[in-house]
Amino acid sequence: MINDNLHYKGEPTNSLEVTDSPHLDRQKNEPFGQALRKNLFGNKKNTVLTVLTGLFTVFVLYQVVSFVLENSWDVVYIHLRLLMIGQYPLDELWRLWFGLYYASLMIGLTWGLWRGAGKAVAFTFGAVYLAFAAVPWTTLNTSLNLAACIGLIAGGYVLGGKIDRLKIPVLVLWGLYFPLTIGLIMGFGGLLDPVLSRYWGGWLLTVILASVAIIGCFPLGILLALGRRSSLPAVKYVCIAYIELVRGIPLIMVLFIGQLLIPLFLGGQTGLDNVTRAMIAYVFFAAAYLAEDVRGGLQSIPSGQFEAAQALGLNKVKTTFFIILPQALKAVIPAMVGLFITILKDTSLVAIIGLADFLGTARRISNNPEYLGRYLELYVFVAAFYFIFCYLMAYVSRYLERSLSKGSR
């Protein structure tokens, strides 16, 4: 598409009749091909631009395709297990499969019950499972497990579509998902064989770190945001000091503080392993940013809402939690999801404190003497994987935004 003729809605345009396609300058009833020709080759300048960008696109596509085809990618598929779950013991693999089964069933049920963005999530997960299950070098065992996951998504969808009463149980099960799977992965504090966090790695560690940071920063961030608007000076200034202090130092610094200074001050006897210390650092860091996002939302609530709540006889706690916060959080969904995506990607910084997350594992593998210099395939794979899940998060956020703001349109 040529930028020259790009007319977004709302911008002044020459043609008065902008039709359903916002990008193409197209008259009503004008055939698509004709409009295309007019837009792309309408005048000399456009023709030159079209040809040049066309050539460039072909060149890039050719390079990408030949890169994909020329490399054998064995370095990726040989290390797929390392990339996905790190050094998690093989005998305990069933715990991870259980977590994946659980998630698949829940995604299916959610899709069936609420429709909407559940479809995109279900299809993305299904497609990733299918891709991994279908490639020839996956072991039969893994393929069967992945096929079962796809089956669970489909089964959940059918079940959810038929039985509407499942909504409450599904929400409860979603709430239990994180504590249950984390407990299972760790071994429920000794109930099962404990799997120490030093054996977590790859995508598993990335997801755990990001989930803990996102889930943990949420209550803390909201409290900080409320605290910053508090009329009690001590609460207010402690919150301001915290938020500004944390936002004023780089994440790497926070990680170093968690990793190096805490054990130095507490004498190395804290009993906290390095993964836990990283989790704490991420939670505290993300909370400060979330607090500012939420504060933005709180400020956007017109004072009429407070007055109306007061007139109805609601006390301060009820006003905050039932009237103000829901509206404030809804208003800042895009900012919050932006933060969450950033957190997911920022977990790769744990490489500097010796943890092997998804990207760190790729770097480790590229330093195996047998695969020296094979980093490009690994990095491309890692980038693609990150992209799929970050984009999915953004997509779901856009959907939530749309569906939650239906009332105000």
Partner: protein
Amino acid sequence: MKNYSKYLLSAAALLTLTACAGGTDEAEGVDGDNAAATSGETLSAVLDRGELNAGVNDQLPGFGYVDSDGNYTGFDIDFAKAIAAGVLGDAEAVNYRPLSAQERFTAVQTGEVDVLLRNTTWTASRDTEVGLDFAPVTFYDGQGMMVGADSGVSSLEDLEGMIIGVETGTTTELNLADQMEALGVSYETQTFDDRDALIAAYESGSVDAWTTDRSGLVSAFAVLDDPDAHVILEDTLSKEPLAPAVLHGDDQWNDVVSWIVFALIQAEEFGITQDNVDDFLDSDDPDIRRLLGVEDDLGGYLGLESDFAYQAILQVGNYGEIYDRHLGPDTQFDLPRGMNALYQDGGLHYSMPFR
């Protein structure tokens, strides 16, 4: 009045906060006894734990890396295994703690790792100010320089006016500056965040030469498109003796680590290998009998089992075997022993006598 109560409340809140903070400190049970380790403490901690905490590198080809099955492996890793075999009788009783260059010393200082086996150069400041003690050198390295074979460069002086690539945040950059200043050679540096990028830049010709430890240069031959088109200069820019490090102050633990390293070197001197060590148990040579713990109880003096050296050799192999396994002719590095040969072969490795 109303305002007053607000401030009172705030003060009360602050007091509670500080009280809480004080309370947790006590609850954590901080015993600040780790900073200055007392003799024997680490050994008994390791024996109680039944596991050796070893700080290692997980991204250095040949020395410390993770193989395709997810196991730590490499030259440095084998020394961790040997220490575990000597102390605990089980080479697999190691908790590997991958450390970044930035956090490695703190990990020793806080007692998070018992021994640091992470290609660490033995320097005066690390031995004193950083608070480490070093066991015998396991690998003598030195900084070298790689140039194109047809570049006409045969010594550091020939690099006048050229662009040299180095990795950021390493001592290599400082060594390079020192050497070139001493020689009066002007040059330009280009710094890179990682080795792969540096090698790619060198191959594409955007830097004329690049420098790192010789072992690193040699291992890069495995990556280069045309290895024959490149040479390593004879000149050495710095001494890089890589040695295991422990926390300063625990002499007994330092002795343990040191004599396990010596045992591996001594075993190579005697020709004792992983495969034939059992045959040497009936040896008549008193030196060998003492090393393997058949005679006397040198292990007992260290606080170990008398067969500590036997276990280390049996489970891991002698120094030469470790070297060959990870860096020798059968690996793609094919790194000549050079300074790392035994003293009788013109190298620097020399075990103090087991007596």
